[in-house]
Each structure stands twice: as C-alpha cells, then as structure tokens.
C-alpha cells in the first residue's frame, strides 16, 4: 500500500536516512525499530511531508506522493501521531478531535462516536482541556485525533514514550483493535519487545540503513535483535 524506495534525507550536511526501501502492505501493522538517531522519526516525518527527501520516492497505492505538502498528504489518507503526543493543551478534548478532521467537510458525528467508543475515557473528559489529561489519556487523544481524518495509514511515533507498562499495554491493545477495523499502521518504537509482538512485519534501522527484515516473530527470536534491543 505504501512503498518507500531508496529514501535519503539530509539535515544540512548530515545524512539521517541513507537510502532505505520498505513496504507497508494493506491492513497490516509494520514497525520500524532501532536505537536513538537511527532515522526512524525522520522517515516518518518525511512520509508525512514535514521534511523533504533528498532522494527517493514515496508511493501510496501506486500514486507518487513524494514532496507533497503535509496537508495534501493528510488528505491523501496518511496521518501521523507525533512523538510526545503534542495535543493542543488549552483546547478541549472535543476541539482536539475536531481539528483532527480539519480537512474533511462532511459530518463528524459518526467518527466522534467511533473514537469515543474506542476510548471511553475521552468521552468522560470531552469538555476538559487536553493539557489537564494524564499522559496515557493524552496519548489516547493523540491517536483519536489522528483517526478523525479517517486515514488509510496511521503512522505512530513512539506511542509508548513516557508511559507506565500497564498503560503501554492498553495502547498496544488499541492499536491492534484499530488495525482490525481496517486501518494500516506504521509504528516506530523504542520498546522493541511490545512493537514486535504487535507487528506483522518489522524492520530494524541502524544509522540510517535497514539492517534486518522479518516478521514480528522472526525478529523477536533473532539473536542480534535480542542482544541489541531486547536486552535478553
């Protein structure tokens, strides 16, 4: 569904992504794992259009979307949950959700209901300012907000960042649930264990290159991955 070919991204003189090629098949969960500075977030930001690639092409369902502006890319059906949640702190939960659907001009009633069914906690806090939510609730809101654009692909940057293990488990359950309902997911994670258990397919990134590929289970049992990322 989403195809990345020979993608290179430079920040000034530094090449953060050095030519990676991978694919996200429809209705699957794909994860990119790797250490800090491996180029995971840069890859996501490039796909979202926030950073322009130096080389390479990005195709969504056969259509070239390389270098489009972020709003065009969102309207094509790719949405990103940014790292560190980035909810709009002084706006209410409901307003946050509505901004997620900014580029849509149809009725939002059903989608708000859908998000509230996925996250009953958000419904309780509908009128509360997003900045007053707990970290876990903010992450739920960030996911819900991304879903409001009715994406084909949802990209998540470190959804487990700074959350308690039990909350992380809840978030990953939700990710699986969303995926079951038909949304393709591209997940970037430091928490390799959780990510690989959830993912259909995984890619290991090291300093801007893909060094290992396999299904989630294969990578979980791979000795190198175990040593480097799982700590066992």
């Amino acid at each position: 569904m989403l195809k990345i070919d020979e993608l290179k991204v430079r920040y000034g003189g530094i090449e953060a992504v050095k030519g990676i090629t991978f694919e996200v098949p429809e209705r699957q969960i794909v994860t990119l794992i790797g250490a800090n500075g491996a180029g995971k977030s840069t890859t996501l930001r490039t796909i979202a259009g926030l950073v322009k690639p130096a080389h390479g092409r990005i195709h969504l369902q056969g259509e070239d979307i390389t270098g489009l502006s972020p709003d065009r890319i969102v309207s094509k059906g790719i949405t990103m949950v940014p790292e560190g949640r980035h909810v709009f702190p002084d706006l209410t939960v409901l307003e946050n959700l509505k901004i997620g659907a900014y580029l849509r001009h149809d009725d939002l009633e059903d989608d708000i209901k859908w998000v509230y069914d996925l996250f009953p906690r958000l419904k309780e806090r509908s009128w509360q300012a997003a900045g007053t939510l707990s970290g876990g609730e903010q992450q739920m809101l960030a996911v819900g907000r991304a879903l409001m654009s009715r994406p084909k692909i949802m990209m998540m940057d470190e959804p487990s960042l700074g959350l308690a293990p039990i909350v992380v488990k809840g978030i990953f359950d939700i990710i699986r649930e969303i995926n079951k309902q038909g949304v393709t997911i591209l997940l970037v994670e430091q928490n390799a264990n959780m990510a690989l258990k959830t993912a259909d397919r995984g890619y290991v990134l090291e300093t801007g290159r893909i060094t290992l590929t396999g299904s989630g289970q294969e990578l979980l049992t791979n000795e190198d991955v175990k040593k480097a990322y799982l700590g066992t």
Partner: protein
Amino acid sequence: MIQDQKSKKGAVTGLLFIAIVLLLVVLLENLSAILPAGSVPAVLMPTSQLFTVLKKGAVYSLVAVSMNLLNGFTGLFSLGQAGFMLLGAYTYAILTVPVSAKDTVYYLYGGSAVNFSLPDLFGGVDTPAGLILGVLLAILLGGCVAALFAYLIGLPVLRLKSDYLAIATLGFAEIIRAIFQWQPLGPVTNGANMITQIPTFNNFNITDANGTVILRLSTFFPFLIAIICIVVIVMLINSSYGRAFKAIREDEIAAEAMGINLAKHKMLSFCISSFFAGVGGALFAMFVNNAQAKVYTSTMTYEILLIVVIGGIGSISGSCLATFLYVACAEWWLRFLDSATTFASPTAPNRIAFMVIFAVVVIGGSALLIHRERRGSNQVWKQTLVGLVAILLLGWLAWFAATGELTLPLLRTGFRMVAFSIIIMVVVLFFRQGMLGDKEFSDILFARRRNAGKEATK
C-alpha cells in the same frame, strides 16, 4: 446535535444582547432631547466626555479585538496595528474629502491628485445615500487596503517567529508612517498635514431643514460598525478556521501534522486582523475628524496591546470590556492625574473620585497580597508588613479627608501615563491572565449551565 442547539441558543442570546446595547446607545444619546430642558444632567449633554469615551471605546474595541485575533487566537505576536490603522484612516480620508473642499484641504499642493470623492459619486455628503454608501464603501476600502498591505508584508515577515515578528511589524508600522508624511506624496496624502473636512460621526445625526438635530446617531454609528465587525470575527473564531488558528497557537508541529497549512492560515489571520484594524483606522479618522500620520505611532499600538493584555489574551469580551475601562480612565476618570490639583473644597467631585479610587486600590491590593502570601509559606511578617503599609496609607487618606486641603505632590501633565505603566506592571506581575483570561463573558455568566451540560455528556 446537542452542540448545534446550544450554539443556536447562544446566537439568539447574543443577537438580543447586541440589539439591547444598540438601543441603549441610541436612547442614551438622545436622552438630553427627551428629558425636559434644564433637568438634563451634565453627563448626558451631547458634549459630555461620556460620548467621547463611548465613541472612542467602540473604535478601539474593534482594533483591540482584531489584535486579539492575531495575538490571542493565532499566537502571532504582531505590533503593526497602528500602521494598518493608518492605512485605513488615510484610505478613508483620501476617498471622502468632498470634491469642493479638495483645494482648501490640499492648498499646499495645489489640489489633490485624487479628483473624485466617494460620497460625491452617490450624491454628496448631505444626501442620505451619498453619506451612507460613500462612507461605508470608503471604510470597506480602507480595510481592504490594509489587508492588501498585510498580504504583501506578510509574505516575508510571517516566516519569523515571536519577538522577531513583533520587531518586523513594528518597523513596518514606522516605515508606513514615514512614507505617508513624505513630501512627494503630498498631492495624495497631503504630506505631513492632516486631511480634514471628511465626513465624521456627527454627519450621521439626523437634522431637520433648519439644521437642528432631531435624532442623534453619532455614537450609534461607530457602535454599529464595530459590533458588526466583532460579530464577524467571533463567527470566524468559532468556525473551523478559528479552530485551526487556535491549533497553530497551541502547537505548530501538531497543527501541521493534522494537515493545517501553516503559511496559509497565518496569512489568513494576519490579513483579516489587518483588515479590521484598517476599518478601525477609518473609524478613528472619523472620530478625530481628520487623518494625520503622526497620530499613528507605536504608542497607539501599545495602548491597544495594553487593552488586550488587561482584558485577557484570547478573550473577545475581555478586550471589549478592557477597552471601555481603559478609554474611560484615559479620557475621563483619571484626567485629574494630569493637573496639579489642589483639593480645596471637601466636596469637589475629583476629590471624592480620588479618595474612592485610592481606597479601592489600597484595600484591594493589600487584600490580594495578603491572600497570596497565605497560599504560599506562612511568612507572617510579610503579611503584617503589607497590612501595616495599607493601614498607614488609609490613615493618611482619613487625615486627608478630615483636614480637607492638600496639593498632591506628584500630579502634573503626563502623570496619567505613569499610572498606566504601573497598572500594566501590576497586571503582568500578578494577573497575567488579564480580567477574563481566555474565557468569554458568557462563559462566566452561564458557568452553571455549562457544568450541567458536562454532566449530561457523561
């Protein structure tokens, strides 16, 4: 669904409120004619300060709200408001000087290069059609010129952030002011001289054949225009565009990731804000009966900024409320600070006003300080100190009231501005939220109902 009903109800209440305000303004203005002659209190006479305050307040509240749209709702800190007001004022003035008056107004340049006048096109200032159509069109064009300049200046400037944007827009306002005073542009802008003889608020008073006023509408007109513009801004803020503006204010990264085009929306907000500042500038020209570049200094921008900060950044009703308070203080209530007053007679009105204001400031200030200390650590000596100072000051006031004669030492021309500086320092230090924070007046008024709504959604 619940939301729609609520907003519909809110709109009806709002419209009703606006209608009442406008009616009250007309009534207040014409009370002097309705009441039997002789029994009219001085404050209600048409020349009273009250109407100056109301007119200027209406104009300034529009400009303050337009600044709030940009600074409070989009998070772009711009200080170019006076420049855009100047553009609106000059556009209005240049287009409305009657053709017959051009030679007198532009006598230094041997007449104007603009050889038409909008009111004249529709039959002249003295006919209702000429006045209303000509003036409204000129005001509208004033806004459009300001918006156009905002677009051009916004292309390079909106890439800047926070302080840098403020500096750039401030510079822009100063440059515009200099250009409009430039001699070679004299045939259009009348150089450094003011453009006079333009239609003013007083032209909207309805007179009979002898020139006697039947119905005064000179305060009603600025109120009407300002209210229409503010309603448009409020509707914009409550639309999905307004939500996008707020999203940009809160978090640019997330807003961009949600598909909000940052450049486009910042430009939109900048141009709309400037448009209404231009409209405000045109109204201001009508208020002061002329257009003169040297009036639109950065001091004027600071006045507006002061109002926005005091009212609460991100609150429309706060801005309106603060405008009228500020204008009333500056033009009326605190005027006595500007002259070395001897409070000779114990019943002199300014003496009573001074004592009331002094007592309120001392009691309110000390109560607040003591309360703040109580919330912090239990430093009793600080509370005692504040209390002692307050008692001393009040004691002085009592002595002053008893002896009845005193020349206050500091009062002289310009002291009013010192008082304002102190007020803004106090606001910034202790009430950073301003009067209403980012709430609206209706939020506070209907707080209970809203809470009930919260319960219902659970």
